[in-house]
């Protein structure tokens, strides 16, 4: 991505998140049951949806990488998963805060969505040790892609299993999302969701650009070194004596 595009994205993200929070705190009404605490919903739920969506996007890029062999898709898959894992930490932290505020405990096992998310998060955390334990670059990219596809298929299965294992005795807080969320809450939620989604896109854009730039830099450095070695008096050879002279 071009620097100007990244700048626009970053500004737009800040604007949307700012607007979203303004709506949440000054416009959307307090929820009847939970009161002010429920406001964390506008942060927690968008983060969770975007993180899960990011994992799926990582899996799709992985499929494209295996089909084309183009390392660009592997980089996109890696960066998508990376950003989503970071979002995942935020999901778990905000989820725990919400649990403490509404049930009085930092962790509850009978909230299937949060438990499922924890399992998905644990699986994706193993992406890094797998990736960095393989030295060959090409093999690393292929194995990481197979992992990303496997884990992508695992996400819905896991949600089904955990949901089925719950006896559903506890009232589900997220139930309000499907049913009776008032219009003003919906609007605040959607603005927050758009802001968080854009934040993910911006972060992915920045990291991809940084990766490409550092790859370019090491390519330049290599070509500089190659220039020096065969003739002994390449670019580096011309620079070195002057530097040595200044040292004396």
């Amino acid at each position: 991505m071009k620097p100007s595009t990244l700048r626009t994205l970053a500004l737009l993200t800040a604007l949307l998140i700012g607007a979203g929070f303004a709506l949440v705190f000054f416009w959307a009404p307090n929820e009847a049951d939970q009161g002010f605490v429920q406001k964390i919903f506008y942060l927690h739920v968008p983060l969770a949806i975007v993180a899960l969506g990011g994992f799926i996007v990582g899996g799709i890029h992985a499929i494209r990488h295996l089909r084309s062999g183009d390392p660009v898709h592997d980089a996109r898959s890696y960066v998508s998963i990376h950003a989503s894992v970071i979002f995942g930490v935020a999901v778990l932290v905000t989820g725990m805060i919400w649990a403490k505020a509404s049930w009085g405990r930092w962790w509850v096992w009978d909230e299937p969505t949060l438990v499922s998310f924890l399992i998905v998060f644990l699986l994706y955390c193993t992406y890094y040790p797998l990736r960095y334990a393989i030295e060959d670059r090409d093999r690393q990219a292929r194995y990481a892609s197979v992992f990303a596809i496997t884990a992508g298929a695992f996400v819905p299965l896991n949600f089904m299993a955990v949901r089925a294992a719950e006896s559903l005795v506890h009232p589900r807080t997220f139930g309000t999302v499907d049913g009776g969320l008032p219009t003003d809450m919906w609007i605040a939620f959607l603005v927050c969701f758009a802001g968080i989604a854009l934040l993910w896109v911006t972060l992915v854009g920045f990291e991809l650009t940084a990766k490409r730039t550092s790859a370019q830099l090491s390519r330049l450095r290599r070509s500089l070194l190659d220039d020096r070695s065969p003739r002994g008096a390449g670019v580096a050879g011309r620079i070195a004596p002057r530097g040595a002279g200044a040292g004396r």
């Binding site: 194995y143 496997t150 298929a153 299965l157 089925a164």
Partner: protein, 230 residues
């Protein structure tokens, strides 16, 4: 004129026969699994301080023991290929890479069935008041074995080619297997209940396990070629 090559099924059969023959001659995995499972039962007896188990505790002990014993076999399933470099030779077989995946999964499945033929009677002897729940538990365990075999055969070659090989396999497999574990333990909880087996949500759990098996067999079939390329 070239003769038609052997079918994929024949290649899978040859791979599987080779793995089973190697196991029969070296006895590297199966005896270790049996010994391990028995020891883990003893560990649970003292760790939980229980001499009789039923319900969720019984199901949990059985399923977790099978899971850990399976990890031993999964860690070793690609060892011969890695240490003695047989992978190149296997890839000369006239079938695509997924034949090796299915053969390895079938070998793991065979090991696990042998493990359970031994471990279930021992479990009954050690912990159960009556074994009525074990019969309807068999299809659940078979589907769990298939889940362990499919994911194991998919993850094992990745782990085998990494630096931290003995670490990577279990690290990925434990969270990956959680849905299958949840389903098997939940089905077992009702089947091994104190008052005799009950079939609450039995079909749901079997269906979930079957879906899990199907998905990971499909992924292995589609993606295994990419794990073998050099």
């Amino acid at each position: 004129m070239s003769r038609p090559g052997p079918s994929t099924a024949a290649v899978i059969g040859a791979f599987l026969a080779k793995d089973l023959r190697v196991e029969l001659r070296t006895l590297q995995s199966i005896p270790a699994m049996l010994l391990f499972a028995t020891t883990v039962f003893v560990i649970f007896r003292f760790g939980l301080d229980r001499t009789r188990l039923d319900g969720s505790l019984a199901a949990g002990v059985l399923v977790v023991t099978i899971l850990f014993a399976a990890l031993l076999a999964i860690n070793r399933i690609f060892v011969a290929e890695r240490e003695q470099g047989g992978l190149e030779a296997l890839r000369l077989a006239p079938a695509d890479g997924s034949a090796l995946f299915f053969a390895k999964a079938a070998a793991l499945l065979a090991y696990l069935v042998i493990l359970e033929l031994f471990a279930l009677p021992v479990f009954w002897l050690f912990f159960l008041a009556d074994g009525a729940g074990l019969v309807p538990l068999l299809p659940v365990l078979l589907l769990l074995d298939l889940a362990l075999a499919a994911t194991g055969a998919l993850i094992a070659p990745m782990a085998a080619h990494s630096r931290a090989r003995d670490l990577i396999g279990p690290l990925i497999l434990l969270p990956l297997l959680l849905p299958a574990l949840i389903a098997a333990a939940a089905a077992g909880r009702h089947l091994l209940a104190a008052g005799g087996p009950s079939y609450e949500m039995y079909g749901t759990w079997l269906g979930l396990l079957g879906l899990y098996d199907l998905i990971f067999l499909l992924i292995g079939w589609a993606a295994f070629d990419f794990l073998l390329e050099d």
